[in-house]
Symmetry: C2
Subunit: 496 residues, 2 copies
């Protein structure tokens, strides 16, 4: 035990030493604390090296680089030649006010340690403008660029704000299963999960695949939604939410679809549709205002990026500047309207009269993107919550209204993105739910556990789903969904 005690007291000593000698900073910490006159250590990657004198260093803690000034006469030429874009360095020196315009403080470098070189002939990220398409090909390196650094930091702040919002409001975070034998929603094409040898698939006597030989003893797929499982937990814990990956095996190559994406699905016992709408609006406004506060610098950078991108478009096709749009959403109540009224607005619009809609408008249709955009961007000019959709175009679990034609659904539409939230009050009446399940051709047997919640102590409850990447797109202004997740999965793409 003597040896142990030495180890422990040594560790304690080391901790104390490390604290008293703390001189290692991140760029974000340097800008925050401005330790002028202090001798500090800073590590990061070279963005540019100008005039053999000015190193612009970035360490990922913020979008801003830190200017480090070298007296090149003090350093060896072979060392200076190794300082290129992408080189990883540890610099030591004194922090001083910067005489230059671009930054308040800078480092007067006294020592340079090269941690990792970066051959300028080979390193793909040179200090010039790269297209987003090119950067997608090198998704392993793009977090080193200003744009993707900003996007992924904003993504972090949004994710944190989501947990923060729910935690403050008495919700419990639950993990719904990723691999599941249930395809209750019938929400489209599924990814099968299996350990069967594909060169030797076992068949039953009837010639079907014998999934009893598979890992789970039955056919299993990747989840399309955690909602049904979240409902089970809401019936015990009251208010819960999921935040996990969901999957669609759809062959969609668009700027809005991923095969693997993250969803947030809150589910609340005792919530009516109106409570659900209020929660969703409050939730969206909370996380956007959180991002505006905590990621202000990144959002200013992304605002400018979008403005530059928009310059190439004709004036009437440009979207609202990013920060203006975010403040606009925060400061205005969301419009609330029934599906039936929305159809009336569309039918009475000049767009409809002038036949500008490509798809027909009539009660019963699934609103097309052009209809949603008209309502949000032309008519209301604010986010819109549309409620009480026709039962036939919505999922089986949505609560049937007294009219027996519509259900207590709600979709929230925002400018540029369209639907960002989809939710409903759930059908809590056993008989009505059972009838809907049969009508929708779903096997009653496969949902015995879901039906059980309506059999034992059922209650009115509601919930909604938010596609996380759609949210990140909305807040960062990135037009392609593949640019807001580190490693996008789409048909034909699962690199890295």
């Amino acid at each position: 035990m003597a040896a142990l005690k030495v180890l422990i007291s040594f560790a304690g000593l080391k901790n104390k030493l490390a604290l008293s000698m703390k001189s290692t900073y991140s760029v974000a910490e340097l800008y925050e604390k401005k330790p002028i006159g202090e001798f500090v250590t800073l590590s990061g990657w070279v963005r540019t090296f100008r005039s053999n004198r000015f190193i612009s260093l970035n360490d990922g803690s913020t979008v801003s680089n830190f200017q480090c000034v070298l007296d090149y006469e003090k350093f060896d030429d072979t060392l200076l030649k190794k300082i290129n874009t992408g080189t990883c360095l540890t610099l030591k020196g004194k922090i001083a006010e910067s005489p230059g315009k671009g930054q308040p403080i800078e480092m007067l470098v006294e020592s340079v340690e090269i941690l990792g070189e970066s051959d300028p002939e080979k390193y793909p990220l040179q200090p010039k403008k790269h297209s987003l398409e090119f950067l997608r090909e090198i998704a392993h390196l793009r977090p080193r660029t200003s744009t993707f650094g900003a996007v992924f930091r904003v993504r972090h702040h949004l994710a944190y704000a989501i947990h923060d919002f729910f935690n403050r409001n008495g919700f419990f975070y639950i993990h719904s299963p990723i691999i599941t034998a249930s395809d209750a929603e019938g929400a489209g094409e599924l990814f099968n999960v299996s350990t069967l040898d594909k060169k030797n698939i076992p068949l039953t006597e009837g010639g079907e695949v014998d999934f009893s030989k598979d890992f789970f003893g039955k056919e299993a797929n990747l989840t399309v939604s955690g909602q049904l499982e979240a409902e089970l937990l809401a019936m015990g814990l009251g208010k819960v939410y999921t935040f996990g990956p969901t999957f669609r095996a759809e062959n969609s190559n668009t700027t809005r679809h991923l095969a693997e994406f993250w969803m947030i699905e809150p589910e609340m016992a005792f919530y009516q549709l109106s409570d659900n709408m209020e929660l969703a609006e409050e939730f969206l406004k909370y996380i956007i205002s959180y991002a505006l506060e905590k990621a202000s610098e990144d959002l200013r950078f992304l605002d400018q990026r979008l403005a530059d991108e928009e310059k190439s478009k004709p004036t009437d096709q440009r979207s609202m500047p990013l920060l203006e749009k975010l403040h606009f959403v925060l400061e205005n109540p969301f419009a609330r309207i029934t599906y039936t009224d929305a159809i009336d607005i569309l039918l009475n619009s000049s767009y409809h009269r002038k036949k500008k809609f490509q798809f027909p408008v009539e009660w019963g249709i699934d609103l097309q993107s052009e209809h949603e955009r008209y309502l949000v961007e032309k008519h209301f000019k604010t986010p819109v919550i549309i409620t009480d959709y026709p039962a036939a175009i919505k999922a089986f679990y949505m609560r049937l209204n007294e009219d027996e034609k519509t259900v207590r659904a709600m979709d929230i539409l925002v400018p540029g993105i369209g639907e960002i939230v989809g939710g409903s009050q759930r059908e809590e009446r056993y008989d009505v739910l059972l009838q809907k399940i049969k009508q929708f051709g779903i096997s009653e047997h496969s949902l015995w556990w879901y039906l059980d919640t309506r059999k034992f102590g059922t209650c009115p409850h509601s919930g909604f789903g938010l596609g996380f990447e759609r949210l990140v797109q909305f807040v960062t202004g990135m037009s392609n969904i593949r640019d807001v997740i580190p490693f996008p999965r789409t048909p034909g793409n699962c690199e890295f």
Copy 2:
């Protein structure tokens, strides 16, 4: 637009009304605010109904039930008959100090609304002790029990504490991919993800499965770890962490293994192994102390539950009481010891001399559970960080020490669970890494992107992985890992 304005001002009005009339409470809020004399609304599920008079109501907001007192003469008999265990109710009444011993306050019920009945002949959760095995069969209902309510609330608080810790410390949360074409770690058996028709698998001319016809155009599997991708992001953002599901298709039916489980994997640029150890210890202590503060009532309940369970064991096989164990971990520094020294301790132990170890002890072995338990529970009596393992028994990406025999690995062992954290400093030297990749028989080509990070601006960096369910087991004292995740996936099990 007139209609919209009416809608908006109506919604505003409704919000104001709702706030001024706020009288709906959760049980947790009632106990916190104790609104004695106030007329309130409370919804929840009946746990017990005694003497036609005392309803014990639970709404999931806390492990405690709320006593609601009925004057049965004021209520109809048919209504009273519907109040059974599991029935969902909305009760209205006045809050008063409770003359009873079990609770500080209670509700004097004035109205009862039955939201959902619960047939006592059919509802499986009756007020008696159910075995954990039985409850696992009805995982859709078990969140309604005190034990699982407590476990899942603690799980929530632990998850929140993890995000909170990293956010406070300048880490960015990243989502590493779930579906991946890389099996770099060779970490064992994989779940294949596919949309190929299993009854009609396309083959190449050589007779192999033609994955070019599959959704991603190549063979794709569920991830076993997000570490390699986290490293890519750490090289841009500095400090990052993952918190996502990972998968093992191992046919293990134990109390410690799941096929689907959640992992937390921080990865930090510029961290040496010693920084990594300090972070991991600080991290574990932070989240445990957070849980002790925020989930104190649930943990007291689970402490008692474990104590009851332990009573059936012989005294010398009982584990440390739960709360005592958690405080013990908080208050003691973790022992730090090299693998080589750990082997010496084992060789010099009375256990070894008396041949009490089932597995042989010698330098080079993978420590068995019995060895780890001896070190933690018998020798050090505190969590232990073992470092510098033999290179041959650890992954290819761990940094080789100067001795060229050991690597900068670290495992943290805790009482009862064994390994809870596994981490290392990563091999940042391109040549050494390439050689290790070849030694381990991994295709260099499949890791081109990982090698790129060592080619361009490499730097010392470190990280670790924490199995979330192991942590929840440790903090809740639940002995079977299937009881700390809502819907466990194991061989033959993927219900719900």
